[in-house]
Symmetry: C2
Amino acid sequence: MARRKVANTLALAVLGLLQEKSMHPYEMASTLRERGKDGSFKINTGSLYDTVQSLVRHGWITQVETVRDGRRPERTVYTTTEVGQQEFVSWVDELIRTPATEHPKFMAAVSYLGALGPERAAEALDERAGHLDRQIHEARQMLAETVGSGLLPRLFMIEAEYGLHALEAEHAWTLRTSDEIRSGTLSWPEFEQTDQGWAWSAPAERKDAP
Amino acid sequence: MARRKVANTLALAVLGLLQEKSMHPYEMASTLRERGKDGSFKINTGSLYDTVQSLVRHGWITQVETVRDGRRPERTVYTTTEVGQQEFVSWVDELIRTPATEHPKFMAAVSYLGALGPERAAEALDERAGHLDRQIHEARQMLAETVGSGLLPRLFMIEAEYGLHALEAEHAWTLRTSDEIRSGTLSWPEFEQTDQGWAWSAPAERKDAP
DNA sequence: TATCGTATAGTCGGATCCGACTAATGGAGG
DNA sequence: CCTCCATTAGTCGGATCCGACTATACGATA
């Protein structure tokens, strides 16, 4: 699979918006924020203007006009090209089809959970679970309001459903793991200082399985 | 919460390794890969040397010596400072405690699932589910082998358990959503070209709930 | 009517990231 | 004993990203 010319997801958002109508960058940012898509895309004005430039360079979008409203600063308006439209669809297709290995910060931290010691680790996990719980409730309520009211077809909020599902899974794992630490199911190996740093002595593995 | 001086997770990996013993960057990379931590950290030699430099600048690690083995290129060996050790623990603590909003590519793509149309969307989701299924089996087997053999305490593979759990959740959602599309539970609004781009006509919302 | 805050629209320089490259060594195979 | 390839160890320049900043306009308020 050949590497994509423009790989950041903000470019996908730009292409998606220009599918609907032509816009200037500032409007893209505010539209995305209005629609609550800032959970799916990292919207940073600096990056946005760079991304737009890069899309222009690759011929996926073009400048339509530069209008000046009153004495406000000029706005440069863009549209997709035909290439850009095809690229958009095939990119979405590929992103859905083939899972990409992401590197979430949480997983990085979990791989050093041992460094906290059992008590602090369990406590930290519980605190996380609390935050996640709040986020889950917010997400549920947001979905209920927006979709339930019939303002927007459910398909247009489907990524929020995915986000909620992911949150719930993480919440479940977090709580379960903290329980396992507290109940001793997940045991802490003992660390010892050696000449060359730290080593662990694994808790004796019992071989009493049938 | 004040912004961290060094924020990328590769730095966390470096600090973690130097907790055990002093190392030169190349050894860090190969150790991480050997231990299969390349799922949790994005290991790129270029970034690694930059990260190490940055850690030195902030006083979290220091150069111990530069050895030359035979006529091989010089290796520069590093250790953590006391500040670095404290920073490491408090960073892990923070990363566990407070969830950070990540922006996975999949979620970005899902938010434009509509662009594929129902058939192609369902098909793409199924293909993803297939890939995920394979990854899940690999992960399960790897865990069974490594932990089951007692070579390594379970705590040291805990992030793989988390990864597996996340994969399973994503797999479940992917399959469920593809089912919903096929069964019509998740309906596609009809798109219409208007003067200014595309608009959708929402499928009639039935108000026949009790 | 002077001023304060907010919305509009975008620029810029430095930090970070990453892939592609260099260069030497040790060992396997013919 | 010559060649080829994998391993060891790291450099470098360009691409990307991002936060902090500028500058104008509009509306509310004192």
